[in-house]
C-alpha cells in the first residue's frame, strides 16, 4: 500500500504540473482542444487515483474540477479568466495537499473546509449563483453563529429577536497578500456590517517565526443586508468566502453542526466505487481522438487500472494490464475474466524498453565529496609537471611526459564530468514564470507576452537555487514598474501589449540570464532627483553621475523608484536584494535602460559555486586570489598618473575618476619600498562603482576549489577562504567587499 501511495504522490505531482501548463495554454487559446482534453484527463486521473486513498476532500475537489472541465469541453461554458483563476486555485490547493501528503502522509485538518470553498467556487460558476444556493437554507453551515456571546448578540440584534442576517465566513488564501488582496479592507465594502470577528485561522506562531507576508487570519461576520449585496463585496475572492443567510434564533439551543454536505461525492463503499472507476476507464478507451491522444489515454488508463487493482488487493503485472488496455473491449474482457484467479505471471518480465528512464538521486554530500576528491586530484596532478621537468631528456622522461599529458587530459575530463553531474537545466527556475506573469498581469490589468529562451541552458544546482528568487523579483518588477498600462502604451505609440523576454545562455565560464521588457524604462534624471531626495547623494554628486551610473542607483540599498510603491513589488525585497544575492554567489548584475523603450537587467553567474576562478596577485611576498567575476581589467599605471590627495589616491581610467587602494595597506603590510615607474593595478567592480587595487604583481588565472575558513579562522574578516593552486601553492582568496 505504501508503494502505491508513493507512486500516487509522484504521479499527482506530474499530473498537476501538466494540468497547470495545459491551463495556461488554454487560457491563451480557449479554442485549444488538445489542452482541454489534457486538462480533463489530468483531473480525471487524479480523481481516480485519489479515490483509492482516504482523502475525500482531494477527490471531491478534483471531481468538481473534472465536472467544470466537462462543461467546458462540451462548450456549455466558455474559458474566461475568472474560471482560469478558480481552476488555478484548485490546482494550487491540490499541489499543497500533495506536498502535505508527501511530508506527513495525510491531508491537513482543514482540507474539508478548503475543498468546500474551492468546490463552491468551481461549481458556483458565478458568485451570485453560489450565494443564491447558499441562501437556500444553509443556516447551519455557520455553526459559530449559534455561539455568539450575549454582548455580540446585543450588538447584532437591531433587527428584532429573530432577525434574518447574512453570515460571512471568509478564510483568505494564505498567499493572498502577494496578489494584492487586503482581506480586512473588503469588509469596509460590506453594507450594514453588524459583527466582525477577526481570529487566527491557525494557532499563532511565535512572532519570530511568523511570516509577515502570509495571511493567517480568518474573518467571520454578520450583515443586515441581503446575500446578493454582501456577495458583491467579495466578488474578487469567491472561492475563499462562504456567504449565506442565517436566522438568529432567540433561544440559545445550538443546533448540531451538520457535517459538510456529504451527499456530493464522498466515496461510495470501496467495491462499488472501484467498479465504477474501472468501467469509466474502459469508457475512456472508447473516446475518439488522434493516435497520440489515444496512446496517452491508454497509458493513463493502464496506470489507473493497475492502481485500482492493487488497491483491491489484486496486484497485477503491469505489463499484462498495459497489454489489456489496447481497447475497451479487451480491457472489459481482462477485468471480467478476473486476474485474481490467475497465478502471478511468472514469465520473463516485459521488454526492458518499456521501462521509464529513471532519475538517480544522490545525496549532495556525496557529490561534494566527489568534487573535493577531483579537486585534490587536480592539485596532485599539477605537481607532476615540475617533476617530469626534472627527469631530464632521456627516454624515460619522454615516456613520462606522454603519460603526464594523458593524465592531464583524463583529469580534465573527469573534472568536467563531475561538474556536469551537478548541472540542471534552467527550466527549473523558468517553470514558475508563466504562471507568475499570468497572475500578475491579470491583476494589474496589463497585457504581457512572456517569451522564454534558453530554458535548456544548464547551470549548477546551487546556482539555480541562488537564481530563483532574484529572477522572480526581476520579472515582478518588470511587470509592475516596467511595462506600462495598455492606455499609456497606446498613447506612446507602442503596441498595447508588452513583451517580457527572459533569456538564458552560456557565456564564457558562466551562465547569463537576461530579463528585458519593452516598457517605460528608467529615467536617469528621475533617479538623480530621487537619490538626492532620499539623502543618498549630494546634489553635486548626483549631477556628476553619468546616465548609466544613475540608472544603476536602483541597486542601491533603500532605493525605490516608483512614486507610489505598489503592494506588488514593494515588500522589502528590493533590487538591492537581487544584487546582494547574485554577488554573494560570485556573480554580477548589470542594467541598461532607455527611457520609453525598455529596461534590460542581466545577471551573470558562475557555472558552479564549487569552483571559483581567481586571479592570483602578489603583495608583500604572499599570494592572494581575487575572484575573476569582480575583475574588470588589469593594467599598469605609471606612477605619475596617480593623483594623491593626502593619503587618498585616485587614477583616471576611461574618463572616470577611480579611487585607488593598495593591497599592502589593506592587509596591514608595510609599503613597497622599491622605486617603480608603474604600479600594477587590478580594476575591481564592486556594487557601488569600480575601485583600483594596486598590487605588487599579477599572476595566473586559475580555477580553484574554494574552502571557507573554518575553526578559529572563521572569524577572520576580509577573506572568502583558502584555495590551492595547480602547482600546490596555498593562496588566500580575498573578500574585497569586506576589506574595502
Amino acid at each position: 500500500m505504501s508503494d502505491l501511495f508513493d507512486q500516487f504522490v509522484v504521479e499527482a505531482q506530474e499530473l498537476l504540473e501538466m494540468a497547470g501548463a495545459a491551463l495556461l495554454a488554454l487560457e491563451r487559446d480557449p479554442a485549444d482542444r488538445a489542452s482541454v482534453d489534457e486538462l480533463f484527463r489530468a483531473f480525471h486521473t487524479l480523481k481516480g487515483a485519489s479515490g483509492l486513498f482516504d482523502m475525500a476532500p482531494f477527490t471531491r475537489l478534483v471531481h468538481a474540477g473534472e465536472d467544470t472541465l466537462s462543461l467546458l469541453r462540451d462548450g456549455r461554458i466558455a474559458m474566461m479568466p475568472d474560471l482560469a483563476d478558480r481552476l488555478f486555485r484548485a490546482l494550487d490547493q491540490c499541489a499543497r495537499w500533495v506536498a502535505a501528503l508527501e511530508a506527513g502522509g495525510a491531508l491537513p485538518a482543514d482540507a474539508a473546509d478548503a475543498a468546500e470553498t474551492l468546490v463552491r467556487g468551481l461549481s458556483g460558476r458565478a458568485a451570485a449563483e453560489g450565494a443564491a444556493a447558499a441562501a437556500g437554507g444553509q443556516a447551519d453551515g455557520f455553526p459559530w453563529v449559534t455561539t455568539l456571546t450575549g454582548e455580540e448578540r446585543a450588538a447584532v440584534g437591531e433587527g428584532g429577536p429573530t432577525a434574518t442576517l447574512t453570515a460571512i465566513d471568509y478564510t483568505p488564501d494564505p498567499e493572498c497578500f502577494f496578489t494584492g488582496d487586503d482581506p480586512l479592507a473588503l469588509f469596509r465594502r460590506v453594507p450594514d456590517l453588524r459583527l466582525l470577528r477577526i481570529e487566527p485561522a491557525e494557532p499563532l506562531p511565535p512572532l519570530a517565526q511568523m511570516d509577515p507576508y502570509r495571511c493567517i487570519l480568518r474573518f467571520r461576520a454578520l450583515s443586515g443586508a441581503a446575500v446578493e449585496a454582501v456577495t458583491h463585496a467579495f466578488r474578487s475572492v469567491p472561492d475563499q468566502v462562504r456567504i449565506g443567510s442565517v436566522t438568529l434564533a432567540p433561544a440559545m439551543v445550538p443546533p448540531l453542526p451538520v457535517p459538510p454536505s456529504a451527499t456530493l461525492l464522498l466515496p461510495a463503499p470501496q467495491g462499488s466505487l472501484a467498479a465504477a472507476m474501472l468501467a469509466e476507464q474502459a469508457r475512456i478507451l472508447d473516446l475518439p481522438g488522434s493516435t497520440a491522444e489515444c496512446q496517452s489515454r491508454r497509458a493513463a488508463v493502464a496506470r489507473a487500472v493497475a492502481a485500482i487493482l492493487t488497491a483491491l488487493g489484486r496486484p497485477t503485472d503491469r505489463g499484462a494490464v498495459a497489454g489489456a488496455c489496447g481497447d475497451a473491449a479487451a480491457l472489459r474482457r481482462f477485468l471480467a475474466e478476473g486476474p485474481v484467479e490467475k497465478p502471478v505471471v511468472a514469465g520473463p518480465p516485459p521488454a526492458a524498453a518499456s521501462l521509464p528512464r529513471r532519475a538517480l538521486r544522490v545525496e549532495p554530500e556525496r557529490m561534494d565529496a566527489l568534487m573535493a576528491l577531483v579537486g585534490e586530484l587536480s592539485v596532485v596532478k599539477g605537481q607532476l609537471g615540475p617533476l617530469v621537468g626534472r627527469a631530464g631528456d632521456g627516454e624515460l622522461a619522454r615516456d613520462m611526459k606522454a603519460f603526464s599529458a594523458r593524465l592531464d587530459a583524463l583529469v580534465g575530463d573527469l573534472r568536467h564530468a563531475a561538474l556536469r553531474l551537478r548541472l540542471l537545466p534552467l527550466a527549473r527556475v523558468f517553470d514558475p514564470l508563466p504562471r507568475l506573469v499570468r497572475d500578475t498581469a491579470r491583476r494589474l490589468d496589463k497585457t504581457v507576452e512572456l517569451v522564454l529562451e534558453g530554458a535548456e541552458t544548464e547551470a549548477d544546482k546551487d546556482i539555480l537555487d541562488v537564481l530563483g528568487e532574484p529572477l522572480l523579483h526581476l520579472v515582478r518588477n518588470a511587470l509592475d514598474h516596467g511595462i506600462e498600462a495598455p492606455e499609456r502604451r497606446t498613447a506612446a505609440g507602442k503596441l498595447p501589449g508588452g513583451t517580457l523576454l527572459v533569456r538564458a545562455f552560456q557565456d564564457k565560464g558562466g551562465v547569463v540570464v537576461e530579463v528585458s521588457d519593452d516598457g517605460a524604462g528608467i529615467d536617469p534624471a528621475a533617479m538623480r532627483r530621487a537619490a538626492v531626495a532620499k539623502g543618498l547623494l549630494e546634489p553635486e554628486a548626483a549631477a556628476a553621475l553619468a546616465d548609466a551610473d544613475a540608472v544603476r542607483l536602483v541597486f542601491a540599498p533603500g532605493f525605490s523608484t516608483a512614486a507610489a510603491v505598489s503592494d506588488l513589488s514593494g515588500r522589502g525585497v528590493g533590487m538591492d536584494a537581487v544584487r546582494a544575492a547574485v554577488e554573494r554567489a560570485g556573480g554580477r548584475v548589470e542594467i541598461a535602460s532607455a527611457p520609453g523603450r525598455g529596461t534590460r537587467v542581466r545577471l551573470s553567474l558562475p557555472l558552479t559555486l564549487s569552483i571559483t576562478r581567481v586571479v592570483a596577485v602578489e603583495a608583500a611576498g604572499s599570494l592572494y586570489g581575487i575572484p575573476v567575476a569582480l575583475v574588470g581589467g588589469v593594467q599598469r599605471v605609471a606612477r605619475a598618473e596617480i593623483r594623491a590627495v593626502k593619503r587618498a589616491e585616485s587614477i583616471v581610467l576611461r574618463d572616470r575618476v577611480v579611487p585607488l587602494v593598495r593591497l599592502r595597506r589593506l592587509l596591514g603590510q608595510p609599503d613597497d619600498e622599491r622605486q617603480r615607474a608603474a604600479d600594477c593595478v587590478v580594476l575591481v567592480e564592486l556594487g557601488d562603482g569600480p575601485v583600483a587595487v594596486a598590487v605588487d604583481d599579477v599572476g595566473e588565472r586559475a580555477d580553484v576549489v574554494l574552502r571557507p575558513m573554518t575553526g578559529v579562522l572563521r572569524g577572520l574578516r576580509g577573506y572568502a577562504g583558502t584555495a590551492v593552486l595547480g602547482d600546490g601553492r596555498l593562496i588566500l582568496v580575498l573578500d574585497l567587499r569586506e576589506l574595502l
Binding site: 487586503d182 480586512l184 506562531p205
Partner: protein, 90 residues
Amino acid sequence: MPIRYDADLARFEAACTAEDALPLAEWLEATAAPRVDLSACTDLHTALLQLLIAAKPAVTAGPEEAFLARWVGPALGCGIPLSPPGRGPG
C-alpha cells in the same frame, strides 16, 4: 513612512500598507515592551493587523477612524469606543 518608530512607540499614520509589514515585524520582535499609537491611522492592512494581534503590544491610543475604531480596535483590546468614535488618546 506611514509608521514612525520612536524607541518603544510606533505611531501609525494615515494608510498603513503591506509595505510596512516587514519593518513592523522586525521592530515588534526587537522591542522589549512595544507600544503602538493608532489614533492617526486611517487604514490598516491585514498584514499589519495580524502582526499586532500576534505580538499584542500595548495600545496607547486606539484608532479614531470609524471602521477601524468599531471593528479593529476591539480585536486589539482597546474596547468598543463610545459612539460617536473620536475619543482622545488614552
